[in-house]
Symmetry: C2
């Protein structure tokens, strides 16, 4: 039977994680290895300056005092009894779209799985002002995508970043394969003061705007579709590599 | 006069940062905005769960109790008096090669600069067992690359990841434009015990091996060349996007 490692960045107590875990258990054997608390926006951080503690909370549920990337590393390297066939990360509370995916612990966990040679996907549900989350819409789709990956595999060094509109399952317009969109706003920064009157800055808030471009993740979810973006471990810009190699000839080549 | 924001992930006290700062001051006006302590392997983490404090240590040197990404965000958004023309991140103690770049705070700072529309490069010096760092080799080259970028610009959404062999300047073989290499080892994990006898895990150590492939960052530095890899903000795997769109037709498209 296939084995699925389930993780997230909202922490082991997150409702989205349990929804994903239950969905994955309908597809295969599933084990949670997740951060013991919220670790949003930790990106691909790896904890190397201190030891990490693994706590078995109950059968097949492990919590680690570390990041999502730590969880995948230790899950595959030390906790699971055999290598998993799939890493499933989520369901994140809030979308992971465009350039913002590089901040995301959820997506980074799927990056780490891919680096370690395990097919991986991240799944996130869009945030809605004041409302809750229709996690069931995402968990139902997670089953489809997990089966597909277990059946067909994924291209080498490639993970899937899935974003699901925050609506009931019957209100999903469909599924679109997309490219990463481009965010236009810079990070919003609030000013605040400590109890002694010293100014501090708090990063967050603000509403993003997006570059108008066809076939993006952002446009898909905005039109009510589930977005699936295949992401690559190789960040090389090959066009730029060709151009710069030609244009910066004076820098290039041997010097002695 | 051009303005350069200088940052790193080894912290504001790091010798590599000061070397880079002094080099950049020979090219343009330069301001340090860096983490107040070491923040290695923090990747593209953004601190959003607490306010951040900015301390002016001396003229044009600011420390923040946050990550490299926080420093670039606040540096550009709040601290610098005008938008910088360049973000320079480093000199990191240790190479940032292959898949490991996604863990790196140094490279992520250059990512953040690029997201905010400022041409950016990261520069790292390879680690050598037991030895120190020939920072001067890297800082001399940093001047060349900074002038080049200020003069020619960079392709859109593209940053440069520079790795410098840890040798004297006269022993540098030359410069190569490269692609991101592929690491083969998984993260090494040590087992250790706390004072109460409970097992912990510590991620780190181990020696990487690399997939044999021409034109990689790893191969360049191994043969004594400075490696320059252009990296892209867009992580979409376009080949996979085309293939999956065709092959996973049953998933794709409208559902209602």
């Amino acid at each position: 039977m296939a084995l699925i490692l389930v993780t997230n960045d909202d922490g082991v107590l997150s409702e989205g994680l349990l929804e994903l875990f239950n969905a994955m258990k309908e597809v295969a054997e599933a084990v949670i290895v997740a951060p013991d608390r919220e670790r949003s926006a930790t990106s691909h951080s790896l904890t190397m300056h201190r030891p990490l503690r693994v706590t078995e909370i109950r059968e097949n549920v492990y919590a680690i005092n570390g990041t999502p990337t730590d969880c995948v590393t230790l899950g595959i390297g030390k906790i699971l009894k055999r290598p998993p066939d799939l890493v499933a990360s989520g369901i994140n509370k809030g979308g992971n779209l465009g350039d913002d995916i590089t901040y995301s612990g959820t997506v980074s966990a799927a990056f780490e799985g891919t680096i370690l040679g395990v097919p991986s996907f991240a799944i996130s549900m869009l945030w809605e002002e004041g409302g809750g989350f229709h996690f069931n819409t995402a968990s139902e789709f997670a089953k489809e995508i997990a089966k597909k990956i277990l059946d067909k595999g994924l291209p080498r060094d490639t993970l899937l970043n899935v974003n699901v509109p925050n609506v009931k399952a019957e209100d999903i317009a469909g599924v679109k394969f997309t490219k990463q969109g481009k965010r236009l706003y810079s990070n919003s920064i609030q000013e605040t003061f400590d109890p002694w009157g010293k100014k501090h800055f708090w990063i967050g808030g603000g509403s993003p705007s997006w570059e108008e471009d066809e076939k993006t993740d952002f446009l898909a979810v905005e039109s009510g579709f589930i977005s699936i973006t295949p992401l690559h471990l190789d960040l090389t810009n090959y066009d730029a590599l060709n151009n710069i190699t030609n244009q910066w000839k004076d820098l290039n080549g041997p010097r002695r």
